[in-house]
Symmetry: C2
Subunit: 297 residues, 2 copies
Amino acid sequence: MKTLRDIGEDALIERLVRLVPRDPDPAAGPGDDCAVIDDGGDFLQLLKTDALVEHVHFLSATPARAVGWKAAARVVSDFAAMGGCPRHFLVTLALAPETSVAWVEDLYRGIGDCLEKFGGYLAGGETTGVPTGSASVISIAATGRVIRAHLVRRSTAHAGNVLLVTSRLGGSIHAKHLAFTPRLHETNWLVANFKPTAMMDLSDGIAKDLPRLAAASGCGFVIDETSLPITAGCNAAQALGDGEDYEILFTLDAELVADLLASWPFPELPLTRIGELVRIGEGDSLTGGWEHFRGGG
Amino acid sequence: MKTLRDIGEDALIERLVRLVPRDPDPAAGPGDDCAVIDDGGDFLQLLKTDALVEHVHFLSATPARAVGWKAAARVVSDFAAMGGCPRHFLVTLALAPETSVAWVEDLYRGIGDCLEKFGGYLAGGETTGVPTGSASVISIAATGRVIRAHLVRRSTAHAGNVLLVTSRLGGSIHAKHLAFTPRLHETNWLVANFKPTAMMDLSDGIAKDLPRLAAASGCGFVIDETSLPITAGCNAAQALGDGEDYEILFTLDAELVADLLASWPFPELPLTRIGELVRIGEGDSLTGGWEHFRGGG
Protein backbone atom coordinates (compact mmCIF):
# COMPACT_ATOMS: atom_id res chain seq x y z
CA MET A 1 0.00 0.00 0.00
CA LYS A 2 1.47 3.31 -1.06
CA THR A 3 1.45 5.93 1.73
CA LEU A 4 1.95 9.68 1.77
CA ARG A 5 5.53 9.08 2.91
CA ASP A 6 6.20 7.20 -0.34
CA ILE A 7 4.93 9.91 -2.67
CA GLY A 8 6.09 13.50 -3.02
CA GLU A 9 3.71 16.38 -2.32
CA ASP A 10 3.81 17.53 -5.95
CA ALA A 11 2.95 14.04 -7.25
CA LEU A 12 0.14 13.74 -4.70
CA ILE A 13 -1.42 17.05 -5.72
CA GLU A 14 -1.27 16.05 -9.37
CA ARG A 15 -3.26 12.88 -8.62
CA LEU A 16 -5.82 14.63 -6.41
CA VAL A 17 -6.78 17.53 -8.64
CA ARG A 18 -8.02 15.08 -11.29
CA LEU A 19 -10.69 13.76 -8.91
CA VAL A 20 -12.74 16.95 -8.39
CA PRO A 21 -14.45 19.54 -10.59
CA ARG A 22 -12.11 22.37 -11.57
CA ASP A 23 -12.87 25.83 -12.83
CA PRO A 24 -12.85 25.80 -16.66
CA ASP A 25 -11.42 29.35 -16.52
CA PRO A 26 -7.71 28.94 -17.36
CA ALA A 27 -6.92 31.84 -14.97
CA ALA A 28 -7.75 29.51 -12.09
CA GLY A 29 -5.20 26.87 -13.02
CA PRO A 30 -3.19 25.16 -10.25
CA GLY A 31 0.53 25.40 -9.57
CA ASP A 32 0.94 28.97 -8.32
CA ASP A 33 1.30 30.37 -4.82
CA CYS A 34 -2.40 31.30 -4.89
CA ALA A 35 -5.45 30.41 -6.95
CA VAL A 36 -6.58 33.21 -9.26
CA ILE A 37 -10.29 33.98 -9.80
CA ASP A 38 -11.25 36.25 -12.69
CA ASP A 39 -14.69 37.83 -12.30
CA GLY A 40 -13.89 40.68 -14.65
CA GLY A 41 -12.96 44.18 -13.53
CA ASP A 42 -9.65 45.77 -12.62
CA PHE A 43 -8.78 43.29 -9.89
CA LEU A 44 -8.33 39.53 -9.82
CA GLN A 45 -9.19 37.64 -6.65
CA LEU A 46 -6.50 35.50 -5.04
CA LEU A 47 -7.27 32.52 -2.77
CA LYS A 48 -4.86 30.74 -0.46
CA THR A 49 -4.95 28.18 2.34
CA ASP A 50 -2.08 27.11 4.56
CA ALA A 51 -1.61 25.15 7.76
CA LEU A 52 0.79 24.98 10.69
CA VAL A 53 1.06 21.76 12.68
CA GLU A 54 2.38 21.49 16.23
CA HIS A 55 5.68 19.53 16.44
CA VAL A 56 6.17 20.10 12.68
CA HIS A 57 6.00 23.87 12.08
CA PHE A 58 6.19 25.02 15.70
CA LEU A 59 6.87 23.50 19.11
CA SER A 60 4.51 23.30 22.08
CA ALA A 61 6.81 25.78 23.85
CA THR A 62 6.85 28.28 20.96
CA PRO A 63 5.23 31.55 22.09
CA ALA A 64 1.68 31.53 20.73
CA ARG A 65 1.97 35.10 19.48
CA ALA A 66 4.87 34.06 17.24
CA VAL A 67 2.87 31.07 15.96
CA GLY A 68 -0.01 33.40 15.07
CA TRP A 69 2.32 35.78 13.27
CA LYS A 70 3.87 32.93 11.30
CA ALA A 71 0.50 31.43 10.35
CA ALA A 72 -0.74 34.74 8.93
CA ALA A 73 2.60 35.84 7.47
CA ARG A 74 2.95 32.68 5.38
CA VAL A 75 -0.32 33.52 3.65
CA VAL A 76 0.64 37.19 3.19
CA SER A 77 3.90 35.97 1.62
CA ASP A 78 1.93 33.95 -0.95
CA PHE A 79 -0.14 36.98 -1.94
CA ALA A 80 3.09 39.00 -2.17
CA ALA A 81 4.57 36.35 -4.45
CA MET A 82 1.86 37.02 -7.04
CA GLY A 83 2.03 40.80 -6.80
CA GLY A 84 -1.13 41.13 -4.70
CA CYS A 85 -2.36 42.08 -1.23
CA PRO A 86 -4.30 40.27 1.49
CA ARG A 87 -7.97 41.02 2.18
CA HIS A 88 -10.10 38.63 4.30
CA PHE A 89 -8.82 35.89 6.59
CA LEU A 90 -10.56 32.75 7.90
CA VAL A 91 -8.88 31.06 10.87
CA THR A 92 -9.53 27.39 11.62
CA LEU A 93 -8.14 26.01 14.87
CA ALA A 94 -8.13 22.34 15.85
CA LEU A 95 -6.87 22.35 19.44
CA ALA A 96 -6.78 20.04 22.43
CA PRO A 97 -9.38 20.84 25.11
CA GLU A 98 -6.50 21.39 27.58
CA THR A 99 -5.25 24.36 25.55
CA SER A 100 -5.42 27.49 27.68
CA VAL A 101 -7.66 30.33 26.62
CA ALA A 102 -4.66 32.65 27.13
CA TRP A 103 -2.66 30.66 24.54
CA VAL A 104 -5.42 31.02 21.95
CA GLU A 105 -5.76 34.73 22.70
CA ASP A 106 -2.00 35.19 22.18
CA LEU A 107 -2.23 33.26 18.90
CA TYR A 108 -4.94 35.66 17.72
CA ARG A 109 -2.84 38.64 18.86
CA GLY A 110 -0.02 37.36 16.63
CA ILE A 111 -2.41 37.06 13.69
CA GLY A 112 -3.60 40.59 14.49
CA ASP A 113 0.00 41.91 14.54
CA CYS A 114 0.48 40.66 11.00
CA LEU A 115 -2.84 41.95 9.68
CA GLU A 116 -2.21 45.38 11.20
CA LYS A 117 1.19 45.57 9.49
CA PHE A 118 0.22 44.25 6.07
CA GLY A 119 -3.51 44.88 5.82
CA GLY A 120 -6.34 42.39 5.82
CA TYR A 121 -9.27 41.64 8.10
CA LEU A 122 -10.43 38.67 10.09
CA ALA A 123 -13.66 37.57 8.40
CA GLY A 124 -14.45 34.38 10.26
CA GLY A 125 -13.19 31.26 11.90
CA GLU A 126 -13.87 27.87 13.32
CA THR A 127 -12.51 26.40 16.51
CA THR A 128 -12.83 22.72 17.19
CA GLY A 129 -11.31 20.11 19.47
CA VAL A 130 -8.72 17.41 18.76
CA PRO A 131 -8.32 14.40 21.05
CA THR A 132 -5.95 14.82 24.00
CA GLY A 133 -2.39 14.13 22.84
CA SER A 134 -3.02 15.02 19.20
CA ALA A 135 -1.04 17.80 17.56
CA SER A 136 -2.79 21.16 17.25
CA VAL A 137 -3.44 22.37 13.71
CA ILE A 138 -3.80 26.02 12.70
CA SER A 139 -5.20 26.52 9.24
CA ILE A 140 -5.56 29.95 7.67
CA ALA A 141 -7.42 30.56 4.44
CA ALA A 142 -7.60 34.02 2.95
CA THR A 143 -8.75 36.03 0.01
CA GLY A 144 -6.49 38.61 -1.56
CA ARG A 145 -6.48 40.64 -4.70
CA VAL A 146 -4.12 41.88 -7.35
CA ILE A 147 -4.40 44.58 -9.97
CA ARG A 148 -4.99 42.64 -13.18
CA ALA A 149 -1.90 44.05 -14.92
CA HIS A 150 0.30 43.30 -11.89
CA LEU A 151 -0.36 39.57 -11.60
CA VAL A 152 2.82 37.49 -11.81
CA ARG A 153 2.73 33.70 -12.10
CA ARG A 154 5.40 31.00 -11.92
CA SER A 155 4.75 29.79 -15.41
CA THR A 156 5.46 32.86 -17.55
CA ALA A 157 9.27 33.12 -17.56
CA HIS A 158 11.46 32.50 -20.62
CA ALA A 159 14.91 31.05 -21.24
CA GLY A 160 17.42 33.87 -20.86
CA ASN A 161 15.55 35.56 -18.00
CA VAL A 162 17.75 36.34 -15.02
CA LEU A 163 17.08 34.75 -11.60
CA LEU A 164 17.08 37.10 -8.62
CA VAL A 165 16.41 36.53 -4.94
CA THR A 166 15.78 38.84 -1.98
CA SER A 167 17.90 38.89 1.21
CA ARG A 168 19.85 35.82 2.39
CA LEU A 169 19.00 32.13 2.46
CA GLY A 170 19.43 29.30 4.96
CA GLY A 171 19.27 28.76 8.72
CA SER A 172 15.70 30.01 9.11
CA ILE A 173 15.03 27.29 11.70
CA HIS A 174 17.19 29.13 14.25
CA ALA A 175 14.64 31.95 14.62
CA LYS A 176 13.68 33.65 11.39
CA HIS A 177 10.94 31.14 10.50
CA LEU A 178 8.85 32.47 13.41
CA ALA A 179 9.43 36.17 12.85
CA PHE A 180 10.03 36.63 9.13
CA THR A 181 8.76 39.66 7.26
CA PRO A 182 6.64 38.84 4.20
CA ARG A 183 8.08 40.78 1.23
CA LEU A 184 4.77 42.41 0.44
CA HIS A 185 5.93 46.01 0.09
CA GLU A 186 8.90 44.98 -2.04
CA THR A 187 6.94 42.79 -4.46
CA ASN A 188 4.17 45.41 -4.74
CA TRP A 189 6.90 47.89 -5.78
CA LEU A 190 8.44 45.34 -8.16
CA VAL A 191 5.26 44.55 -10.08
CA ALA A 192 4.55 48.27 -10.52
CA ASN A 193 8.08 49.18 -11.64
CA PHE A 194 10.02 46.17 -12.98
CA LYS A 195 7.40 43.53 -13.48
CA PRO A 196 9.02 40.10 -13.07
CA THR A 197 8.35 37.49 -15.76
CA ALA A 198 7.77 34.91 -12.98
CA MET A 199 7.82 34.96 -9.18
CA MET A 200 7.28 32.75 -6.12
CA ASP A 201 8.10 32.76 -2.43
CA LEU A 202 10.71 30.34 -1.11
CA SER A 203 9.05 28.10 1.46
CA ASP A 204 10.55 24.66 0.84
CA GLY A 205 14.13 25.72 0.00
CA ILE A 206 15.44 27.00 -3.31
CA ALA A 207 16.63 23.47 -4.17
CA LYS A 208 12.98 22.42 -4.30
CA ASP A 209 11.32 25.69 -5.30
CA LEU A 210 13.56 26.85 -8.17
CA PRO A 211 13.01 23.61 -10.14
CA ARG A 212 9.27 24.14 -9.65
CA LEU A 213 9.38 27.64 -11.09
CA ALA A 214 11.59 26.55 -14.00
CA ALA A 215 9.39 23.55 -14.77
CA ALA A 216 6.20 25.65 -14.60
CA SER A 217 7.76 27.98 -17.18
CA GLY A 218 8.96 25.12 -19.36
CA CYS A 219 12.63 26.00 -18.77
CA GLY A 220 15.81 24.65 -17.24
CA PHE A 221 18.06 26.75 -15.02
CA VAL A 222 21.69 27.43 -14.20
CA ILE A 223 22.68 28.87 -10.86
CA ASP A 224 26.06 30.16 -9.74
CA GLU A 225 26.36 28.69 -6.26
CA THR A 226 29.20 31.08 -5.42
CA SER A 227 26.80 33.98 -5.90
CA LEU A 228 24.14 32.61 -3.50
CA PRO A 229 23.37 35.09 -0.71
CA ILE A 230 23.95 32.92 2.37
CA THR A 231 22.86 33.71 5.93
CA ALA A 232 25.86 34.36 8.21
CA GLY A 233 26.88 31.08 9.85
CA CYS A 234 25.31 28.89 7.16
CA ASN A 235 26.82 27.03 4.20
CA ALA A 236 25.63 26.68 0.62
CA ALA A 237 23.83 23.39 1.32
CA GLN A 238 21.77 25.08 4.02
CA ALA A 239 21.01 28.05 1.78
CA LEU A 240 19.78 25.64 -0.89
CA GLY A 241 17.88 23.19 1.27
CA ASP A 242 16.80 24.53 4.65
CA GLY A 243 13.47 25.97 3.58
CA GLU A 244 11.20 28.47 5.36
CA ASP A 245 13.20 31.43 4.03
CA TYR A 246 10.07 33.23 2.82
CA GLU A 247 12.26 35.28 0.51
CA ILE A 248 11.17 36.03 -3.04
CA LEU A 249 12.59 34.32 -6.12
CA PHE A 250 11.83 36.04 -9.39
CA THR A 251 12.89 36.26 -13.00
CA LEU A 252 13.44 39.38 -15.06
CA ASP A 253 14.29 40.23 -18.64
CA ALA A 254 18.10 40.39 -18.75
CA GLU A 255 18.19 43.91 -20.16
CA LEU A 256 16.27 45.28 -17.14
CA VAL A 257 18.49 43.83 -14.42
CA ALA A 258 21.11 46.61 -14.19
CA ASP A 259 18.38 49.23 -14.08
CA LEU A 260 16.48 47.36 -11.35
CA LEU A 261 19.59 46.93 -9.21
CA ALA A 262 20.34 50.65 -9.55
CA SER A 263 16.75 51.65 -8.71
CA TRP A 264 16.00 49.19 -5.91
CA PRO A 265 14.64 51.38 -3.08
CA PHE A 266 15.00 48.90 -0.19
CA PRO A 267 18.64 49.24 0.94
CA GLU A 268 18.12 46.97 3.96
CA LEU A 269 17.01 44.13 1.68
CA PRO A 270 19.76 43.05 -0.71
CA LEU A 271 18.80 41.75 -4.12
CA THR A 272 21.10 39.14 -5.65
CA ARG A 273 21.44 37.80 -9.17
CA ILE A 274 21.96 34.04 -8.77
CA GLY A 275 21.66 32.61 -12.27
CA GLU A 276 19.35 32.40 -15.23
CA LEU A 277 16.76 30.26 -16.94
CA VAL A 278 17.86 28.19 -19.91
CA ARG A 279 16.13 25.96 -22.41
CA ILE A 280 14.42 22.91 -20.98
CA GLY A 281 16.69 19.89 -20.79
CA GLU A 282 19.75 22.10 -20.37
CA GLY A 283 21.27 23.52 -17.23
CA ASP A 284 21.68 22.31 -13.66
CA SER A 285 19.68 20.09 -11.38
CA LEU A 286 19.24 20.44 -7.63
CA THR A 287 18.41 17.96 -4.90
CA GLY A 288 17.30 18.63 -1.35
CA GLY A 289 14.69 20.91 0.14
CA TRP A 290 11.74 20.20 2.38
CA GLU A 291 9.40 17.24 1.75
CA HIS A 292 6.11 17.62 3.59
CA PHE A 293 5.72 13.96 4.52
CA ARG A 294 9.41 13.06 4.88
CA GLY A 295 11.06 16.19 6.30
CA GLY A 296 14.36 17.56 4.97
CA GLY A 297 15.98 15.58 2.15
CA MET B 1 -5.61 28.51 34.18
CA LYS B 2 -8.79 28.62 32.12
CA THR B 3 -8.80 26.06 29.28
CA LEU B 4 -10.94 25.64 26.19
CA ARG B 5 -12.89 22.96 28.05
CA ASP B 6 -13.94 25.58 30.64
CA ILE B 7 -15.26 28.11 28.17
CA GLY B 8 -18.02 27.73 25.60
CA GLU B 9 -17.27 28.11 21.89
CA ASP B 10 -19.47 31.22 21.61
CA ALA B 11 -17.72 32.92 24.56
CA LEU B 12 -14.32 32.04 23.10
CA ILE B 13 -15.16 33.53 19.71
CA GLU B 14 -16.38 36.71 21.36
CA ARG B 15 -13.03 37.13 23.13
CA LEU B 16 -10.94 36.33 20.06
CA VAL B 17 -12.57 38.64 17.53
CA ARG B 18 -11.60 41.66 19.66
CA LEU B 19 -7.90 40.89 19.17
CA VAL B 20 -7.63 41.28 15.41
CA PRO B 21 -8.52 43.91 12.80
CA ARG B 22 -12.06 43.54 11.55
CA ASP B 23 -13.70 44.87 8.43
CA PRO B 24 -15.37 48.22 9.20
CA ASP B 25 -18.08 47.26 6.67
CA PRO B 26 -21.09 46.22 8.80
CA ALA B 27 -22.02 43.64 6.14
CA ALA B 28 -19.02 41.61 7.28
CA GLY B 29 -20.14 41.31 10.92
CA PRO B 30 -19.65 37.98 12.70
CA GLY B 31 -22.28 35.59 14.01
CA ASP B 32 -23.75 34.20 10.79
CA ASP B 33 -23.17 30.90 9.04
CA CYS B 34 -20.82 32.68 6.61
CA ALA B 35 -18.96 35.98 6.47
CA VAL B 36 -20.43 38.42 3.96
CA ILE B 37 -18.23 40.64 1.79
CA ASP B 38 -19.83 43.54 -0.06
CA ASP B 39 -17.78 44.77 -3.03
CA GLY B 40 -20.79 46.35 -4.73
CA GLY B 41 -22.67 44.79 -7.61
CA ASP B 42 -25.57 42.34 -7.74
CA PHE B 43 -23.85 39.64 -5.70
CA LEU B 44 -22.36 39.50 -2.22
CA GLN B 45 -19.42 37.20 -1.57
CA LEU B 46 -19.76 34.58 1.17
CA LEU B 47 -16.76 33.09 2.98
CA LYS B 48 -16.74 29.98 5.15
CA THR B 49 -14.23 27.67 6.80
CA ASP B 50 -14.94 24.40 8.57
CA ALA B 51 -12.95 21.43 9.87
CA LEU B 52 -13.43 17.73 10.49
CA VAL B 53 -11.23 15.99 13.06
CA GLU B 54 -10.56 12.26 13.18
CA HIS B 55 -12.05 10.58 16.29
CA VAL B 56 -14.34 13.62 16.76
CA HIS B 57 -16.27 14.09 13.50
CA PHE B 58 -15.39 10.78 11.86
CA LEU B 59 -13.71 7.51 12.82
CA SER B 60 -10.54 6.05 11.39
CA ALA B 61 -12.68 3.29 9.86
CA THR B 62 -15.17 5.69 8.25
CA PRO B 63 -14.99 5.34 4.46
CA ALA B 64 -12.87 8.23 3.19
CA ARG B 65 -15.33 9.03 0.42
CA ALA B 66 -18.03 9.67 3.05
CA VAL B 67 -15.63 11.87 5.04
CA GLY B 68 -14.92 13.92 1.92
CA TRP B 69 -18.63 14.29 1.18
CA LYS B 70 -19.32 15.40 4.76
CA ALA B 71 -16.44 17.91 4.79
CA ALA B 72 -17.68 19.61 1.61
CA ALA B 73 -21.40 19.26 2.38
CA ARG B 74 -21.08 21.05 5.74
CA VAL B 75 -19.75 24.10 3.90
CA VAL B 76 -22.42 23.89 1.19
CA SER B 77 -25.02 23.76 3.99
CA ASP B 78 -23.67 27.05 5.40
CA PHE B 79 -23.97 28.77 2.02
CA ALA B 80 -27.49 27.36 1.71
CA ALA B 81 -28.36 28.77 5.14
CA MET B 82 -27.75 32.31 3.88
CA GLY B 83 -29.57 31.86 0.58
CA GLY B 84 -26.39 31.51 -1.48
CA CYS B 85 -24.39 29.01 -3.55
CA PRO B 86 -20.86 27.62 -3.33
CA ARG B 87 -18.13 28.72 -5.73
CA HIS B 88 -14.44 27.97 -4.98
CA PHE B 89 -13.09 25.46 -2.47
CA LEU B 90 -9.70 25.26 -0.73
CA VAL B 91 -8.88 21.93 0.89
CA THR B 92 -6.30 21.74 3.70
CA LEU B 93 -5.28 18.28 4.87
CA ALA B 94 -3.11 17.56 7.91
CA LEU B 95 -2.51 13.81 7.75
CA ALA B 96 -0.19 11.24 9.26
CA PRO B 97 2.59 10.09 6.88
CA GLU B 98 1.20 6.53 7.17
CA THR B 99 -2.05 7.59 5.51
CA SER B 100 -2.49 5.66 2.27
CA VAL B 101 -2.60 7.55 -0.99
CA ALA B 102 -5.76 5.57 -1.82
CA TRP B 103 -7.47 6.98 1.30
CA VAL B 104 -6.67 10.56 0.30
CA GLU B 105 -7.85 9.89 -3.25
CA ASP B 106 -11.17 8.55 -1.91
CA LEU B 107 -11.49 11.62 0.32
CA TYR B 108 -11.10 13.84 -2.74
CA ARG B 109 -13.63 11.72 -4.65
CA GLY B 110 -16.12 12.39 -1.87
CA ILE B 111 -15.45 16.12 -2.09
CA GLY B 112 -15.87 15.85 -5.85
CA ASP B 113 -19.21 14.02 -5.46
CA CYS B 114 -20.55 16.97 -3.45
CA LEU B 115 -19.20 19.65 -5.78
CA GLU B 116 -20.65 17.87 -8.80
CA LYS B 117 -24.07 17.73 -7.17
CA PHE B 118 -24.22 21.26 -5.75
CA GLY B 119 -21.78 23.24 -7.89
CA GLY B 120 -18.41 24.69 -6.94
CA TYR B 121 -14.83 24.11 -8.02
CA LEU B 122 -11.65 23.04 -6.30
CA ALA B 123 -9.41 26.10 -6.41
CA GLY B 124 -6.47 24.98 -4.33
CA GLY B 125 -5.22 23.07 -1.36
CA GLU B 126 -2.47 22.29 1.04
CA THR B 127 -1.41 18.90 2.32
CA THR B 128 0.91 18.60 5.26
CA GLY B 129 1.96 15.98 7.79
CA VAL B 130 0.96 15.48 11.41
CA PRO B 131 3.07 13.40 13.81
CA THR B 132 2.35 9.67 13.90
CA GLY B 133 -0.55 9.02 16.29
CA SER B 134 -2.08 12.48 15.93
CA ALA B 135 -5.61 12.87 14.65
CA SER B 136 -6.02 13.83 11.01
CA VAL B 137 -7.64 17.21 10.35
CA ILE B 138 -9.54 18.11 7.19
CA SER B 139 -10.22 21.80 6.82
CA ILE B 140 -12.29 23.21 3.96
CA ALA B 141 -12.56 26.91 3.25
CA ALA B 142 -14.72 28.16 0.43
CA THR B 143 -16.09 31.20 -1.27
CA GLY B 144 -19.73 31.41 -2.24
CA ARG B 145 -22.08 34.07 -3.40
CA VAL B 146 -25.63 35.21 -2.94
CA ILE B 147 -27.86 37.55 -4.92
CA ARG B 148 -27.87 40.75 -2.83
CA ALA B 149 -31.67 40.74 -2.39
CA HIS B 150 -31.66 37.04 -1.38
CA LEU B 151 -29.24 37.25 1.56
CA VAL B 152 -30.78 36.00 4.83
CA ARG B 153 -29.05 36.46 8.18
CA ARG B 154 -29.72 35.13 11.67
CA SER B 155 -30.17 38.59 13.13
CA THR B 156 -33.12 40.00 11.18
CA ALA B 157 -36.15 38.17 12.60
CA HIS B 158 -38.85 39.82 14.71
CA ALA B 159 -41.06 38.79 17.59
CA GLY B 160 -44.17 37.15 16.16
CA ASN B 161 -42.28 35.47 13.29
CA VAL B 162 -43.05 31.75 12.97
CA LEU B 163 -40.28 29.13 13.42
CA LEU B 164 -40.09 26.42 10.76
CA VAL B 165 -37.71 23.53 10.24
CA THR B 166 -37.02 21.14 7.36
CA SER B 167 -37.28 17.33 7.60
CA ARG B 168 -36.80 15.49 10.93
CA LEU B 169 -34.36 15.97 13.78
CA GLY B 170 -32.24 13.68 15.97
CA GLY B 171 -30.22 10.50 15.62
CA SER B 172 -27.91 11.82 12.90
CA ILE B 173 -24.97 9.99 14.48
CA HIS B 174 -26.40 6.63 13.32
CA ALA B 175 -25.64 7.41 9.66
CA LYS B 176 -27.12 10.64 8.39
CA HIS B 177 -24.22 12.82 9.55
CA LEU B 178 -21.99 11.19 6.92
CA ALA B 179 -24.44 11.27 4.03
CA PHE B 180 -26.73 14.23 4.63
CA THR B 181 -28.02 16.35 1.77
CA PRO B 182 -27.35 20.08 2.14
CA ARG B 183 -30.66 21.91 1.66
CA LEU B 184 -29.26 24.13 -1.07
CA HIS B 185 -32.03 23.72 -3.64
CA GLU B 186 -34.73 24.22 -1.00
CA THR B 187 -33.24 27.39 0.52
CA ASN B 188 -32.52 28.83 -2.93
CA TRP B 189 -36.21 28.34 -3.72
CA LEU B 190 -37.24 29.82 -0.34
CA VAL B 191 -35.27 33.06 -0.66
CA ALA B 192 -36.68 33.62 -4.15
CA ASN B 193 -40.32 32.88 -3.20
CA PHE B 194 -40.94 33.24 0.56
CA LYS B 195 -37.89 35.05 1.84
CA PRO B 196 -37.31 34.06 5.49
CA THR B 197 -36.74 36.85 8.01
CA ALA B 198 -33.85 34.79 9.47
CA MET B 199 -32.25 31.43 8.70
CA MET B 200 -29.46 29.08 9.81
CA ASP B 201 -28.47 25.46 9.45
CA LEU B 202 -28.73 23.14 12.45
CA SER B 203 -25.27 21.78 13.17
CA ASP B 204 -25.06 21.74 16.98
CA GLY B 205 -28.66 20.73 17.77
CA ILE B 206 -31.73 22.94 17.86
CA ALA B 207 -31.31 23.28 21.66
CA LYS B 208 -28.09 25.20 21.01
CA ASP B 209 -28.81 26.72 17.61
CA LEU B 210 -32.33 28.12 18.14
CA PRO B 211 -31.24 30.25 21.13
CA ARG B 212 -28.40 31.57 18.93
CA LEU B 213 -30.80 32.65 16.19
CA ALA B 214 -33.22 34.19 18.69
CA ALA B 215 -30.44 36.05 20.52
CA ALA B 216 -28.94 37.34 17.26
CA SER B 217 -32.37 38.77 16.38
CA GLY B 218 -32.87 40.21 19.88
CA CYS B 219 -35.83 37.91 20.56
CA GLY B 220 -36.97 35.11 22.83
CA PHE B 221 -38.73 31.99 21.52
CA VAL B 222 -41.45 29.51 22.36
CA ILE B 223 -41.45 26.02 20.86
CA ASP B 224 -44.13 23.40 20.98
CA GLU B 225 -42.14 20.24 21.72
CA THR B 226 -45.09 18.06 20.70
CA SER B 227 -44.84 19.50 17.19
CA LEU B 228 -41.12 18.72 16.78
CA PRO B 229 -40.48 16.54 13.70
CA ILE B 230 -38.55 13.66 15.26
CA THR B 231 -36.55 11.01 13.40
CA ALA B 232 -38.13 7.57 13.69
CA GLY B 233 -36.65 5.76 16.70
CA CYS B 234 -35.57 8.96 18.46
CA ASN B 235 -37.13 10.90 21.33
CA ALA B 236 -37.62 14.65 21.82
CA ALA B 237 -34.37 15.03 23.79
CA GLN B 238 -32.44 13.57 20.86
CA ALA B 239 -34.24 15.78 18.38
CA LEU B 240 -33.31 18.81 20.47
CA GLY B 241 -29.76 17.93 21.38
CA ASP B 242 -28.09 15.41 19.08
CA GLY B 243 -26.69 17.87 16.57
CA GLU B 244 -25.38 17.31 13.02
CA ASP B 245 -28.91 17.40 11.59
CA TYR B 246 -27.91 19.89 8.85
CA GLU B 247 -31.56 20.77 8.46
CA ILE B 248 -32.64 24.39 8.02
CA LEU B 249 -34.25 26.48 10.76
CA PHE B 250 -35.90 29.66 9.54
CA THR B 251 -38.41 32.31 10.53
CA LEU B 252 -41.21 33.73 8.42
CA ASP B 253 -43.84 36.44 8.76
CA ALA B 254 -46.88 34.71 10.31
CA GLU B 255 -49.27 35.75 7.53
CA LEU B 256 -47.11 33.96 4.89
CA VAL B 257 -46.92 30.57 6.58
CA ALA B 258 -50.13 29.00 5.26
CA ASP B 259 -49.24 30.12 1.75
CA LEU B 260 -45.72 28.68 2.04
CA LEU B 261 -46.96 25.34 3.34
CA ALA B 262 -49.46 25.13 0.45
CA SER B 263 -46.81 26.08 -2.16
CA TRP B 264 -43.83 24.07 -0.85
CA PRO B 265 -42.62 22.16 -3.94
CA PHE B 266 -40.44 19.54 -2.18
CA PRO B 267 -42.89 16.81 -1.10
CA GLU B 268 -40.11 14.49 0.07
CA LEU B 269 -38.89 17.12 2.54
CA PRO B 270 -41.54 17.96 5.17
CA LEU B 271 -41.66 21.46 6.55
CA THR B 272 -42.85 21.81 10.14
CA ARG B 273 -44.00 24.80 12.16
CA ILE B 274 -42.43 24.35 15.60
CA GLY B 275 -43.07 27.64 17.42
CA GLU B 276 -42.48 31.34 17.17
CA LEU B 277 -40.24 34.17 18.25
CA VAL B 278 -41.41 36.35 21.14
CA ARG B 279 -40.10 39.46 22.85
CA ILE B 280 -36.71 39.12 24.48
CA GLY B 281 -36.92 38.00 28.10
CA GLU B 282 -40.13 36.08 27.43
CA GLY B 283 -40.62 32.53 26.23
CA ASP B 284 -38.79 29.25 26.74
CA SER B 285 -35.20 28.28 27.37
CA LEU B 286 -33.40 25.20 26.14
CA THR B 287 -30.39 23.28 27.42
CA GLY B 288 -28.30 20.68 25.65
CA GLY B 289 -26.74 20.53 22.21
CA TRP B 290 -23.17 20.00 21.10
CA GLU B 291 -20.26 21.79 22.83
CA HIS B 292 -17.10 21.73 20.68
CA PHE B 293 -14.67 21.26 23.57
CA ARG B 294 -16.89 19.21 25.90
CA GLY B 295 -19.03 17.04 23.62
CA GLY B 296 -22.78 16.60 24.08
CA GLY B 297 -24.29 18.32 27.14
